[in-house]
């Protein structure tokens, strides 16, 4: 397992070197990691996913796109997260989130159509270092300016998930990265394609690899507790 990880890392470093042209592996220690080298690689050029940054994800519903941002939020060491969702007729199904490695004890959900102005206090006080706005109904340029300023000031990380694919023609100056994420059913891979912030081409990850990454650890724990 260790050997595989090593090979993967070497491959990623080589890939990063090729793309950035300087061969430096620029991910800083304090950055948020998905524990998936390919996905982390998308953020490497700008020093990794650090505090004060905004990532806009294009993930239409029904296409597994949320697995990519979720990969950054799993594990007990992940700081408290508030996930603001606005999905018509649906509600979260927590067991599936837990199965992906989300620690539900510090993961909070709010069903809110207009996070701004309704949930403005979340941006004024950095109680939650990570805020996810999943399909907000309307964000004005003023809202974006406010969020960008506060996220930078408070050292928070903001994910804004859009229920549509992002296009480079219509930009967003406030987002440091813009990434489309979807499941390619024919190839059986989860794709993450940067629109802004990374020179990488589309990253492809085996869906089972993304999901099982955490399960391997959990199953080991389960079998260990069963045997004791």
């Amino acid at each position: 397992m260790k050997k595989n990880n090593g090979q993967e890392r070497e491959r990623l470093i080589a890939l990063l070197g090729k793309n950035t042209g300087n061969g430096q592996f620029g991910i800083e220690e304090a950055s948020l990691s998905s524990h998936l080298f390919e996905l982390d690689g998308l953020f490497a050029r700008k020093g990794g996913l650090r505090r004060g940054k905004i990532v806009e994800w294009g993930a239409p519903r029904g296409h597994y796109g949320r697995l990519a941002p979720l990969a950054f939020l799993r594990g007990e060491d992940c700081p408290p997260v508030v996930w603001v969702y606005n999905h018509k007729d649906v509600t979260v199904y927590p067991p599936a989130w837990a199965s992906l490695g989300i620690d539900l004890s510090h993961f909070f959900f709010v069903d809110c159509k207009r996070p701004l102005p309704d949930l403005r206090p979340l941006f004024l006080d950095p109680v939650f270092p990570i805020i996810v706005l999943d399909s907000p109904s309307k964000l004005s340029p003023g809202d974006w300016s406010f969020m960008a300023a506060k996220v930078r000031e408070n050292g928070q990380i903001l994910f804004v998930i859009r229920p549509f694919y992002l296009k480079s023609e219509r930009g967003n100056p406030h987002a440091h990265w813009r990434i489309n994420s979807w499941f390619h059913s024919k190839e059986g891979v989860l794709c993450a394609s940067p629109v802004k912030g990374s020179q990488h081409e589309t990253v492809k990850l085996e869906l089972n690899h993304v999901r099982n990454k955490w399960q391997d650890k959990m199953q080991q724990t389960s079998s260990l507790s069963a045997s004791t």
């Binding site: 949320r66 408290p80 199965s99 909070f108 206090p121 059913s185």
Partner: protein, 505 residues
């Protein structure tokens, strides 16, 4: 090994298993009419009612999350924490936790007769003691109940009904309520009146013997118009120690914009703290902001805090209070706009004066004075954040079942379990992140690309499904790629009908 066993010993007096600690507490304690003495009653909650004599009713439901947090932080069980606070606050008391105030009164009387000090329903010993209580426990409380009804002019001949009831018990030789659980509330209503129906229902609230639609709800406003109709509700009246601390403001000129109002309101919060120096030893759970508009119409805004709010420490910004005031102000202005839409009033009505009152205050017990200091900073800040938001942040915990609908629950604070939930967690690996609030039937299409995931059996052994459409149905779950390319979580029941349950987002 012996040490491990010793650590696992749980008192039958405290063991609640999977049950939550009931939220109503009856305290039998001698408290003088001195206000400082009566303040002690507010150490656990802001909602206290004087029932009669030495009996005090405490509603802990609005403080539950806070006390759970405190207990977790101090390494106590919730019951142990309450016990420690009560022991430290009162020298001699009898206290009972139950699912309904009336039930708690009877239980407290039963404990008093047995010489017990503190117990909760839901524990093995508590349930056994309550099941064995005699009708003699009812007598003092029927008397107090009669006084409450009389004071509110709700019933004139309750005394005669009480006599009839006593005669009935004597003639039939009935001594304990749990010997006659087959008596229905309706039959008691026919013979002794509607109040006996309610009393009978309240007695069995939350227990397996409970009748249909048990009512543990409490009517908070004793004098509301719905009082008479809602006979199943218990008529709660808050005990007020003194006139609530109030600041009144007459504006020099009417104000319309929140920006201007907020500055003045912030000053009023400061004035409240200045006038009541002891606020730093108290926590606020509700403020009342009474607004008077230009047309002299008054509107009342209730600023309710989910967790006890330290008003004195929130200065000079008073951000939690101002956020809640802002949400209420928006609601009120929206309501006024809607109401006055067809009149010739200005579109927005300006505010000419207001009163700010502290309606609910909690005293910090001696044990508790350092609680905010010892609560981890992270938790304390999350509690403050909850007070600032207009809607509650939801957190969930997993339940050990494979049934999709029952495999999670809303939780203010996740339970600590003494077993690993890994196998249930793993089973959800191929389930979607979002499910539909309502399961919708679908017509199958030959264009669907589907793949079988799992078979889930209904819990036929619980008996909940009897007579329902889903009786003893298995559900075969599939992941289906629709024509649109989106992936859905669908199931087919034993009759071959298809339903859409979730979406793989």
């Amino acid at each position: 090994m012996a040490g491990q066993n010793a650590a696992n010993v749980v008192s039958l007096r405290q063991h609640l298993g999977e049950n939550e600690l009931p939220s109503f507490l009856v305290l039998k304690v001698k408290v003088s009419s001195d206000k400082n003495e009566q303040r002690k009653l507010f150490v656990l909650t802001t909602k206290v009612m004087h029932w009669g004599g030495d009996y005090w009713l405490l509603d802990l439901s609005n403080m539950l999350t806070y006390w759970k947090w405190v207990a977790r932080q101090k390494g106590f069980q919730l019951f142990e924490l309450y016990e420690a606070i009560l022991e430290q606050t009162f020298s001699n008391f009898t206290a009972a936790f139950a699912y309904h105030p009336w039930q708690a009164l009877l239980f407290c009387e039963a404990l008093e007769q047995r010489g017990e000090k503190l117990m909760s329903l839901g524990t093995p010993l508590g349930n056994q003691l309550f099941r064995g209580h005699h009708f003699s426990c009812w007598l003092p409380h029927l008397g107090f109940f009669k006084e409450h009804l009389k004071a509110r002019k709700l019933e004139k001949n309750f005394s005669s009904k009480m006599n009839q009831w006593q005669m009935f018990l004597d003639r039939m030789g009935i001594t304990r309520p749990f010997d006659v659980t087959h008596l229905t509330p309706e039959s008691l209503s026919r013979r002794f009146g509607k109040w006996w129906e309610s009393l009978w229902k309240w007695t069995f609230s939350g227990l397996p013997e409970a009748f249909d639609a048990p009512s543990s709800s409490v009517q908070t406003d004793l004098f509301s118009s719905s009082l008479i109709e809602s006979k199943d509700e218990f008529y709660w009246q808050d005990h007020e120690l003194e006139a609530p601390p109030t600041v009144e403001r007459f504006l020099e000129f009417p104000l319309l914009d929140w920006e201007h109002i907020s500055d003045q309101l912030r000053d009023d919060c400061e004035s409240l703290c200045q006038q009541n120096r002891d606020l730093k030893f108290k926590r606020v759970t509700r403020l009342e902001w009474q607004l008077t508009f230009e047309n002299m119409k008054a509107e009342s805004c209730q600023l309710v805090f989910r967790n006890p709010y330290d008003l004195a420490a929130d200065g000079p910004d008073y951000s939690s209070a101002l956020f809640q005031a802002y949400y209420s102000f928006l609601e009120v202005t929206k309501k006024i706009k809607k109401r006055d839409d067809d009149l010739d009033f200005p579109i927005n009505m300006a505010v000419s004066s207001w009163k700010l009152k502290i309606r609910e205050l909690m005293e910090l017990p001696a044990l508790n004075t350092d609680l905010f200091g010892t609560l981890s900073q992270k938790l304390s800040r999350q509690m403050e954040m909850q007070n600032k938001l207009p809607r509650e942040l939801q957190s969930y915990q997993l339940e050990p079942t494979f049934s999709p609908e029952h495999s999670y629950a809303l939780s203010s604070l996740p339970k600590k379990r003494d077993f690993n939930l890994a196998q249930w967690t793993v089973s959800a690996l191929k389930r979607p992140l979002f499910i539909y609030s309502k399961v919708v039937g679908l017509e199958p299409s030959r264009h669907w690309q589907k793949s079988f995931l799992e078979r889930v059996g209904e819990s036929w052994w619980t008996g909940d499904l009897e007579g329902s459409e889903n009786q003893a149905f298995d559900r075969d779950y599939y992941i289906v790629e629709m024509e649109s390319g989106a992936f859905y979580w669908l199931f087919r029941n034993s009759l071959g009908r298809w339903y859409r349950h979730g979406i793989f987002s």
